[in-house]
Every structure is written in C-alpha cells, then in structure tokens.
C-alpha cells in the first residue's frame, strides 16, 4: 500500500462541463423541492383567506423538461441578458454582427427606418428598431381588425365555455389569463395619469401630421361614430341591429324572468351580455426573434385599465406552448382591458425570457421584469390579506382620468402602443 501510494503518479484533470451542469441542476432541483415543502408547510399554517390567496398563484405542471425549467431563475437570466445586450458593440463589429443576427433570424434590413447599422450601438437598440414609413400599409377596410404586430398566427377561434384553446388542444381559462372581476384592493390599484388622447392624422398629400377632432377623425376614416359617443352610449349604431332581436321582445314580466334566468349562467365578467348576439373571439400571434418587436393598435378602441401579472418568464416558443399547459397564464403579461365598437376588447402582450420587458407608450408607471415587481406584488398580497381582501394576483391601474370626455385612453387603428424590449 505504501509503495502504491508513493509511486502512483497523480494526474489532475478538469471536471467535464456536463457533470458540472448536472450537479448545478441537481442542486437547484433539491433547493426547489425544499422550498416547495416549506411553502406547503407555511400555507398549512395560514388562516383560510390567506391560504386561498396564496394558492391563486399558478404553478407550472408538465414533463421533466418543464419541471427543470421552472427551477431556473428565468427573470434573473432575462435581466442579465438585457444588461448584456445593452453593452455597446465596437463600431467595426456592428455591421457584421447585426448582419449575422439578421441572417440567422430572418430580419429584413431593407425595412428599417435607420439603414445604417453603425448607428445601432447594441443589440437592444437593433432589436427595438423602427420601420420605414409606409412599409406596413393598413388594410383599407375600416371594418377590419388589423394585425397588431408582425408574427405568426398560432391559434385563433371562438371562446367556448370561457376557455382559450392553446396549441394541440391544451386550454386555459380566461379568468386565469385576464384576471377575474374581483374588487381590487386600493393597495394594488392606481390611477395612471396619461396625456389627453388625440388623433394624429397623416395628411396623404403632405409629409406632415396634425391633430384632429373626434368628428374629423371619424369622417376621415369612414366611421359613422366618434369615440366619445361610442363610450357614452349615446350613439346607436345603425348597422348593429342584431344586438337585440325584435322577435324576442315580450312582456316586461316574462322578459325579466328570462333575464334573471340568463343571468344565472353569466358567471364571468368578460362574457357577452346574454341578450346580445355577440360571441368572444381570440387570436394568438407569436413574434419570432427576428420580427419587428413594436406593437400597434388593431382597431379604434379605448383602454380603460391595465393589469400587470408579474408571473415568470418562460419562453413562449411554439414548442413550449405545446409542452407547457397554460403557459400564457404563468408568464409575465400586461392585460389591457377596454372597449371597441362591438363591446369588450382586451390586448395582452406576453413576455418571454429573451424579451423580458413590455413597454406601453402611454403608461409611464408600468415596470415589467423589474426587481421591484416581485416585492411590490408580495407587499400587495400581504396588505390585501391584512385587510381581509383576496389578492387577485395582479396590480391594476385605470386610465379613467385620461380625458374629460373619455373613460380611458383612446387609440386609433395602427397607432403604435408599445413594444417588447430585450431584458
């Protein structure tokens, strides 16, 4: 033994990278298991109301890939990725670097407002590029709902029984996506002051823009109504007679009974009124890394409030959408709620790991993928529990003070609303 000990040559070799990653993965898995166990113990010790509030936080379920992903600090990764992409790229590396990125992700460089690639100091600026005027003409049909962004249609259809179908038949409920109509605590609700809405009008024969009144704007766009009249309910749409079918009119007593009966089935706030002849529709658009990442208003509508769900930042790639049920209800998202000509309208940008921040141009207060977001949500949840209220899982702000005449922030079709930014 002594001879072997003294004569055996010792060779030092590096530990394989894969082994290191596996060790870190196991460590994270162990930590998450322990955290989950502690959470369950904490919940068991809570009073009933608080326990319910805690359980409202949705947790992912799925195959082992999803379970491992759910243990990763995705928000921290996203922030690091964002910081990295805000580092200035050396001047002479910008053109080859951005051209390589464009070749990999299919960016059309001819559409960019600023064609000189040297002028984009970093990938974050290039990612949030603007387009040349006129390269995205709006559909001339004023009755059309426009695409809010460049991208790919993942899913669209009618909402049946309050559930949005995800890819491959997986579903999630609207309440989970948009939040329910619970009374929001003053702790999590704020009134956001925004500038008075107006319409920017591009003159067809000039390169200039000017302000237009609601009436002028409506006339120019071939609309038979103005937004204030739409929202105040004073205007009756001549071509919207199907809302109340005359054949269903009856005596006031029987009508009251029918309404009462129908109201029993109207369990969710976003459901169309039982008396109307409308339905709920949805469409999901996926933006690939090479796409133009600003988003626009698809129709003339009014945003009345926004709900910020802090959530996580899983990738929203088509693969993960197939793999992870209810992905959109887990991710950080900003739900904009409002009204359009036909009733309820909602617009929900959903964040992802690589594009962590969602920017809304008319909401300076909104901070997404922020270190303070989580703590603010935690504080709000604790305060709501202290006040005996149920924390709805989101922070809400209303735009009710946006205008003297409008209950919300008005947007015209095609108007830029915001965008997704790196990190």
């Amino acid at each position: 033994l002594g001879a072997a000990w003294s004569s055996t040559k010792i060779e030092w070799k590096p530990i394989p990278v894969g082994l290191g990653i596996a060790f870190l993965g196991l460590l994270q898995f162990y930590k998450s298991q322990r955290a989950e166990k502690e959470r369950l113990e904490r919940e068991a010790a809570l009073p009933d109301g608080e326990e319910v509030a805690q359980r409202r936080r949705v947790r992912p379920s799925g195959p082992w890939q999803v379970q491992i992903m759910s243990t990763l600090p995705l928000k921290a990764l996203s922030r690091v990725w964002g910081r990295f992409n805000e580092l200035d790229i050396p001047y002479y590396l910008r053109v080859p670097g951005f051209k390589l990125y464009s070749w990999i992700f299919g960016v059309n460089l001819d559409e960019m407002a600023e064609p000189d690639l040297h002028k984009y100091p970093n990938l974050a600026a290039f990612f949030y590029r603007e387009l040349k005027p006129g390269v995205r003409p709006l559909d001339p049909n004023p009755a059309a709902l426009l695409s809010p962004s460049d991208g790919r249609i993942l899913q669209f259809g009618t909402i049946e029984n309050g559930e949005v179908e995800q890819v491959k038949g997986m579903t999630y409920s609207l309440d989970a996506l948009l939040g329910d109509k619970s009374t929001v605590s003053s702790a999590v609700q704020a009134v956001i002051p925004v500038k008075k809405p107006h319409h920017i009008v591009q003159h067809p024969d000039k390169d200039s823009e000017s302000m237009a009144t609601d009436e002028e704007f409506a006339k120019m766009n071939g609309l038979s109504y103005t937004l204030p009249s739409l929202l105040s309910g004073r205007h009756k749409f001549p071509d919207h007679k199907d809302v109340i079918d005359a054949s269903t009119h009856s005596t006031s007593s029987s009508e009251a009974k029918v309404k009462e009966e129908l109201a029993k089935g109207q369990t969710a706030w976003w459901m169309p009124k039982p008396i109307s002849n409308t339905a709920l529709y949805y469409v999901v658009i996926y933006l690939a890394p090479g796409d133009y990442h600003r988003f626009h208003s698809p129709t003339p509508w009014v945003v009345e409030s926004r709900r910020h769900f802090a959530g996580e930042l899983y990738s929203v790639s088509p693969y993960l959408q197939r793999t992870l049920p209810g992905l959109f209800t887990l991710n950080e998202r900003v739900v904009l709620l409002g009204r359009w000509r036909w009733g309820f309208f909602s617009y929900t940008p959903v964040g992802a790991t690589n594009v962590g921040s969602i920017k809304i141009n008319f909401d300076a207060e909104l901070r997404t993928n922020s270190l303070t977001t989580d703590t603010a949500a935690d504080r709000a949840a604790a305060l709501a529990a202290k006040n005996g209220e149920t924390y709805p899982g989101f922070a809400e702000a209303t735009y009710s003070h946006a205008s003297d005449t409008l209950m919300g922030h008005a947007l015209q079709r095609g108007e830029e609303m915001g965008g997704f930014q790196l990190g």
């Binding site: 695409s147 962004s149 991208g151 790919r152 249609i153 669209f156 949005v164 002849n277 658009i285 009733g343």
Partner: protein, 40 residues
Amino acid sequence: SSIVLVFEAPHDVQKGAGAGWKWDIEKGQRVKVGQALGEV
C-alpha cells in the same frame, strides 16, 4: 413574445348574410402589422 387578443364581436352564425365576424387568416400564417385578421 406573443400577443393575445380577446374580443367581443357579432356572432358568425349569420356569416352568409355578412353580419357576423369572419376570420381572414389561417393557422401558421405569417402576418404583418396592419394586415387584416378578420372583419365584421
């Protein structure tokens, strides 16, 4: 990133009469800003 639109529109049971909502897109289709997704 993704964008989800959820909206109320006239029911498409009267599609033949041109009164309801009608989609102008297909699943998997590439779209650009300003392109029509559907119409009433």
